[in-house]
């Protein structure tokens, strides 16, 4: 993006080696290794409390690491490295009382860096240097004088993107950038992110949305402060399997598995069990039948009937896990009963 010496010689833009952060007795980040190379999009996934936010704060230079080595652009985090980072926080980080252009101009002044093309013209705001000159943001006419707080949420998000990109950062740190966005809007935001990476910026992005993880070249999954998996989506899923139950009455099967304390999720009229193999699930269903487990419906009293693994209509089989289910399996030991947290 900027041609800064050293950036294109294989040195990571961001690097954590054995980074640990403790707060009193609590180890929030536990020996984490992480690298973001120029042009690379790295997805950081984890449950709440997994240590993602603490790690981002360390990279932003807001928190010192308790142990380990952190390098940004080859040097320790500082005010200087902060200026080369574009940061999009979860709350978007905009000033509600300022217009889009005023937000961008204020941010540019704070970063002390020339922002090319940040201007208002005919209701359109350009802040697109970060995407190789293309406009990041074209506000519909009539919004130029509107305070950001009164823009529709989708537009606010685009202003925040423009602000994060406007100073041509070498490293983008995006914290759940597309939460609440419709699929086409999400695809468009990812075009912006991919364009920035195409221009040489490194991107570190957190998301709770597994579909979005497929946009990343590499994923890092954290649980309880540690990295529990790393790689592409297929590498992380590997040959992980879940158990699928198709029963004439999914509600009864659900009741039987619930009695056994097995975490179950519903997919249409089928049940998916990420934490137990088919034989365990079959036994649980048979126990449910033996005990006469029938989930009475609260509302209508339409007893759903007895089901079991032996029921001719019931199928219990293994199927490839989704990324979300694999994630669940990876974090299961850390989260005890599975449905806790």
């Amino acid at each position: 993006m900027t041609g800064t010496p050293g950036l294109r010689e294989g040195r990571p833009l961001a690097e954590c080696a054995g980074v640990t952060k403790t707060f009193g007795q609590l180890t929030a980040v536990d020996h984490v290794d992480l690298q973001v190379q120029p042009g690379e999009i790295v997805g950081l996934l984890g449950a709440n409390g997994a240590g993602k936010t603490t790690l981002l704060r360390i990279l932003l230079g807001l928190l010192p690491a308790s142990a380990g080595r952190v390098a940004l652009f080859g040097e320790p985090p500082s005010r200087g490295t902060r200026r080369r980072i574009g940061y999009l926080p979860q709350g978007l980080g905009l000033y509600d009382d300022l217009t889009a252009a005023e937000n961008l101009q204020f941010s540019a002044a704070v970063f002390g860096r020339a922002v090319s093309g940040c201007a208002v013209s005919g209701g359109a705001v350009s802040g697109g240097a970060g995407t190789g000159g293309a406009d990041v943001l074209a506000l519909p006419a009539g919004y130029a004088a509107t305070p950001v707080g009164r823009l529709p949420l989708g537009l606010q998000r685009r202003v925040a993107f423009a602000q994060a990109l406007a100073h041509q950062p070498d490293l983008l740190i995006l914290d759940e950038p597309t939460s609440g966005v419709d699929p086409l809007g999400r695809a468009r935001l990812w075009e912006t992110i991919a364009d920035a990476a195409g221009g040489g910026a490194g991107v570190l992005v957190t998301t709770h949305y597994m579909e979005e993880a497929a946009e990343c070249a590499r994923l890092v999954i954290m649980a309880d402060g540690r990295v529990v998996a790393e790689g592409t989506v297929p590498e992380i899923i590997g040959d992980a399997r879940v158990t699928v139950v198709q029963a004439p009455s999914w509600a009864s099967a659900f009741g039987a598995l619930e009695e056994s304390g097995i975490p179950v999720s519903l997919a249409g009229r089928a049940l998916r069990v990420p934490g137990a193999p088919p034989e365990v699930v079959r036994r649980a269903l048979e126990r449910g039948q033996a005990a006469g487990t029938v989930r009475d419906t609260a509302a209508g009293g339409t007893a759903a009937g007895i089901i079991a693994a032996g029921d001719p209509g019931t199928r219990v089989f293994a199927a490839p896990a989704t990324l979300e289910e694999r994630f669940f399996q990876l974090t299961l030991p850390a989260s005890q009963a599975g449905v806790s947290r």
Binding site: V181, P183, E215, F254, F327, T331, R341
Partner: protein
């Protein structure tokens, strides 16, 4: 269903069988414009219905109407009485200054549950949702995922005929999300008609029926399979962003590009060597693909965008 129906009645065009709730041609106007524009929907007992769309699509307005929190400007709504309606409003609707247990006791009293029933259900739900140890913590100190689970549990307490959940999983981590889906499945298994709003299409794929909204209007409705089957035209997978007119009908997904060609007679942008023309046919590794629900909704948004821009889809 046995509870008294406080519905305003049933309208034409929507069959409310036993245990079915919903609305017909519902419209709501705010100062800024139509928040809901003649939207029809239904929710069946023992099923999960998903309402999908981005910010401002009309999801919250629709759910408020269904929960009885907002009267529609026009149209017919059919819903059970207030004590048979569980509602998780946007933002979880819990009191941050009360403990977890106090929040639930307060809500149980509002639903008119006896103390014994309230105690039993509270203990069971908290235990199964992994919140038992948090029962004496202030709700305002819970993580986002725990707070959402508490909100869902509070709405489930009366074992309502209709359970309305406004974005229970938005911004929630995957582990809490699976806990929330366990609660949702639990409620449906017990016979509730569950209606939930979400912006996650993979979540909507788990629902028995889906309503996609955009700008207050219905974009698509049906079972996930029906919505996918109704996609017009052809969807192609390409490795690079196409230029020209095709670029307007392209979007990025999973690191590659999808290009939608509408059902128009010219079939602009079709590569001459490819003869496959129906969704559902595979003609090669980077050619025509079968859309999934996310593709189907994306195409519906795109088609409307192109229509509004005056382009031919």
């Amino acid at each position: 269903m046995t509870g008294p129906s406080h519905g305003i009645g049933t309208g034409p065009g929507l069959d409310h069988g036993p245990g079915g709730w919903g609305g017909t041609e519902v419209s709501v106007r705010y100062d800024q414009g139509m928040a809901l524009d003649h939207v029809s929907f239904r929710a069946n007992a023992g099923q999960v219905t998903a309402v999908v769309g981005g910010d401002g699509a009309g999801k919250t307005t629709l759910l408020r109407v269904l929960a009885g929190a907002l009267a529609p400007g026009s149209g017919v709504v059919h819903r059970p009485g207030a004590r048979q309606t569980g509602y998780l409003p946007a933002g979880s609707g819990i009191y941050p200054d009360l403990t977890v247990a106090e929040n639930l006791a307060f809500r149980a009293a509002g639903y008119g549950l006896s103390a014994a029933v309230a105690r039993e259900r509270t203990a069971e739900y908290l235990d199964r949702a992994g919140l038992a140890e948090a029962r004496d913590r202030l709700a305002g100190q819970l993580s986002g995922g725990m707070r959402q689970k508490l909100g869902v549990i509070a709405a489930m307490l009366p074992q309502p005929e209709l359970l309305v959940l406004d974005e229970p999983t938005t911004g929630v981590d995957p582990v809490s999300r699976s806990g929330l889906w366990w609660l949702i499945a639990r409620a449906a298994a017990a016979g509730s008609a569950v209606v939930l709003a979400t912006s996650y299409l993979d979540e909507a794929e788990r629902a028995a029926w889906v309503l996609a909204l955009e700008g207050g209007r219905e974009l698509a409705a049906g079972t996930p399979d029906e919505i996918v089957a109704a996609v017009p035209g052809t969807l192609r997978l390409v490795t690079a962003r196409p230029g020209g007119d095709a670029g307007r009908r392209a979007w990025r997904r999973g690191g590659r590009w999808r290009v939608w060609e509408g059902p128009g007679p010219s079939g602009s942008g079709v590569s001459p060597g490819n003869t496959a023309s129906h969704p559902g046919q595979h003609s090669g590794p980077d050619e025509v693909i079968t859309p999934d629900l996310q593709d189907a909704v994306t195409i519906a948004v795109l088609a409307r965008e192109l229509e509004m821009a005056g382009g031919t889809a």
